[in-house]
């Protein structure tokens, strides 16, 4: 480690901020354990993906500008979501294609931004994460992270350091779960069909726990499994890596 720790701005993501703060704290713990100085800029709300994916480019660009301003001072920007990072790394530069000054800043931000497991595994490369979680789990690769950022091996490599944890892969780990942001409420019938295919496959692995790196997908799958009366615990990978699974109930379960 260099004497002055890496300054990391945590992009909490709107879903973690609102729905699951435990994931944010798990991310802070992992980053601090890796020797980073973590800050959480107040002026962050959402990366703008809902606007961008709805074709509302003006609002998307305004939000992008806000995020770029908020995170200008950090060596790295880290978010517990492949989807938000995909927006920042891949789509912010697209949004400012016609604005040379902002394009420059968007590219600079994109180059400093990493999804949490990628940052821990590929960039900061601190000591391996250690812990214990004696369960059988399966891992869902969320689409944006997988296809826009190539996140596949990183979470699995980190999870390998967790004693007692067995990962059983599903056939459709790389198939979309049917969340798709606003898609799941605009086209609920199609979304239900998609998440059912996924749920069947999750159940078929015999896993007790479903892990993933994106809150939207996890809430979607958790919600469907629970509606079908299936008792599979759903968690963000950061919680298992940080060893904080005892402090927060899994997604959609009542606090003990």
């Amino acid at each position: 480690m260099s004497p002055s720790p890496a300054r990391v701005g945590l992009f909490v993501t709107c879903l973690v901020d609102l729905m699951r703060p435990a994931v944010g704290f798990a991310a802070v713990k992992l980053l601090e354990d890796a020797g980073c100085a973590v800050s959480v800029p107040l002026a962050q709300t959402c990366c703008g993906q809902p606007a961008f994916n709805s074709g509302d480019n003006a609002d998307a660009a305004a939000l992008a500008r806000q995020v770029i301003d908020a995170f200008v001072d950090y060596d790295y920007v880290v978010a517990p979501s492949g989807s938000c990072c995909g927006t920042i790394k891949v789509h912010y530069p697209e949004l400012f294609a016609d604005d040379p000054e902002m394009l420059e800043r968007a590219r600079d931000m994109a180059a400093r931004t990493y999804e949490l497991t990628t940052f821990l595994n590929d960039i900061i490369k601190a000591a391996p994460v250690e812990g214990r979680f004696e369960r059988v789990a399966t891992y869902h690769d969320s689409c944006s992270g997988l296809r826009e950022l190539g996140i596949k091996t990183q979470p699995r490599a980190l999870l390998a350091g967790i004693a007692g944890l067995e990962i059983r892969e599903m056939h459709t780990a790389e198939t979309c779960c049917g969340f798709g942001g606003l898609f799941c409420v605009k086209y609920p019938g199609i979304s239900e069909k998609m998440v059912d295919v996924k749920a069947d496959d999750i159940i078929a692995t015999g896993a007790e726990v479903l892990l993933g790196g994106d809150m939207g997908c996890l809430m979607n799958m958790a919600g469907r499994l629970q509606r079908r009366g299936v008792a599979i615990e759903v968690r963000h990978v950061a919680e298992v890596l940080a060893g904080t699974t005892d402090t927060a109930a899994s997604i959609g379960e009542a606090q003990k």
Binding site: P21, D56, F183, Q226
Partner: protein, 474 residues
């Protein structure tokens, strides 16, 4: 073909409630995608070939006028004719005039998406001609009077029982109680029926997978050989093709052939790959006396030079459809027009307008698998987003969603106000949902809770808790 894309949501409901369709779709991911994967694994240079194929098409599209004119002059040199048709109606009239001049009664047809696009069968029937589809899948759906549900496997939505039912109903010259359980028996019956038609046809119409500017040839790829009988047996041959099918050279055509079948069905090559140039020459043993190419624009030149030009690279392999989880849930008919899946969701609005097709670009999670498998590296998700941006700027689509989005964006652009609003919302929801941890239903959240429980928020936002723990340190 008339579009029902404006009724997409209804079409989806019908598709989701159709038990037979859903059974057929369940088998879908085990078929083509698995075969494609195996074909990729056997060809390490596949990605390099994709780049080469993309570059060939990009070059061609940049000089499309040149290559089309070159193609035309080569067709004329070989004794054929080229008809330039700006739209579906002119293509239909051209085909009808050729048939009339030939005194035709029966027309055999190879599978052609352009044929579907211009609804050629209906207009032939109206003019008193008898069009007979000769591709097995197309033949089946012609008997059932329905459009194809997939660009390379038109009858993929049907079970063999449904095929047997159609045969029993239409082949009335055969004993009604004949056994039709085995696929091979169905195939033999279709073959016997079609054989007579091949021999009786006056005009043969096929599509083209590619047109070669260098030689004036057309390239046709099939697995059943029906396309070749359709081309060579009748007196008159008509090729109907859209303008973006042209490639500069034979060499280019073979490069694209190397990615086409592999992406489509996982075959190294299709069973039949035929290059045809002009009508029968004196020394030829067989072939048509007259050779016509009907070149269709139908909206494509408008895409040239636009942000949708990349879509014109499409070689109709169907890989994006085969890997699309939305298509896997609803099948092809729900899209409401000739094309389907991701390529359809981009192409249909471009060809028939964005107003009556507003759902198509939205009904996607943008999961990106289509772009991943597209041999021509077409950025399908990017174009779906661009179509959404067009809709947004032109106020197309439900206004409630737009207002909701604008309201949310208004808040999200004001972090202090946003934090306050979220604190209040999350506090209330968190208090309501504390006991069970989730909601089975919630006002305004019906789209979500119809089929899923909704996890309750923890009661305090991360930002709130973080500030309480020692203040934001930014």
């Amino acid at each position: 073909m008339d579009s029902t894309a404006h009724a997409f949501k209804n079409n989806v409901r019908t598709a989701l409630d159709d038990g037979k369709l859903q059974t057929a779709l369940k088998l879908f991911p085990e078929g083509f995608p698995v075969k494609r994967r195996l074909a990729m694994d056997r060809l390490p240079e596949f990605d390099a070939l994709r780049d080469a194929a993309r570059d060939i098409k990009n070059h061609t599209l940049a000089h499309l006028d040149h290559y089309l004119e070159r193609f035309e002059s080569k067709v004329i040199d070989s004794g054929g004719q080229v008809h330039w048709c700006p739209d579906a109606e002119s293509a239909r009239q051209t085909v009808l005039a050729i048939c009339r001049d030939a005194g035709a009664k029966t027309v055999t047809k190879g599978k052609s998406m352009i044929g579907e696009e211009i609804a050629i069968n209906e207009s032939l029937e109206k003019a008193g001609l008898r069009p007979v589809e000769t591709d097995l899948g197309e033949y089946i759906i012609q008997l059932r009077h329905e459009p194809p549900s997939h660009i390379i496997a038109p009858a993929i939505h049907l079970s063999k029982d449904q095929v047997a039912e159609a045969f029993r109903k239409q082949h009335t010259h055969l004993p009604a109680d004949r056994p039709l359980e085995e696929p091979a028996v169905l195939l033999d019956e279709a073959r016997a029926v079609l054989r007579r038609e091949f021999l009786a046809a006056d005009v043969g119409i096929t599509g083209a997978n590619m047109l070669v500017a260098e030689t004036g040839s057309m390239v046709l790829v099939t697995n059943e050989g029906n396309g070749d009988l359709t081309q060579t047996l009748p007196r008159v041959q008509i090729v109907i093709a859209s303008i973006e099918k042209v490639v500069p050279t034979l060499e280019d055509a073979t490069t694209i052939l190397r990615v086409l079948a592999r992406s489509a069905t996982g075959q190294e090559m299709s069973v039949y790959t035929t290059f045809t140039t002009g009508p029968k020459r004196p020394e030829d043993l067989d072939g048509p006396e007259a050779y016509h190419v009907v070149l269709l624009d139908n909206g494509r030149t408008k895409m040239l030079g636009s942000e949708f030009q990349d879509m014109l690279r499409c070689i109709r392999c169907g890989a994006c459809i085969n890997h699309c989880p939305v298509y896997g849930a609803i099948g092809g008919h729900a899209y409401g027009w000739v094309y389907s899946g991701p390529m359809g969701a981009v192409l249909i609005p471009n060809l028939i307008g964005v107003e009556a097709t507003a759902d198509l670009p939205n009904a996607s999670t943008l999961c990106g698998r289509c772009e991943d498998v597209c041999p021509m590296r077409i950025p399908l998700p990017r174009m779906l987003r661009q179509l959404r941006a067009h809709q947004f700027s032109r106020n197309i689509g439900p206004s409630s969603q737009r207002y909701g989005l604008r309201a949310w964006a208004f808040l999200a652009r004001r972090p202090a106000l946003y934090r306050l609003a979220m604190r209040l919302g999350v506090g209330t929801l968190g208090a309501w949902g504390r006991r069970r941890g989730r909601f089975r239903s919630l006002p305004l959240a019906g789209g979500w809770t119809r089929s899923r429980d909704l996890a309750a928020p923890a009661g305090q936002t991360f930002q709130q808790q973080w500030s309480a723990r020692g203040g934001a340190r930014s």
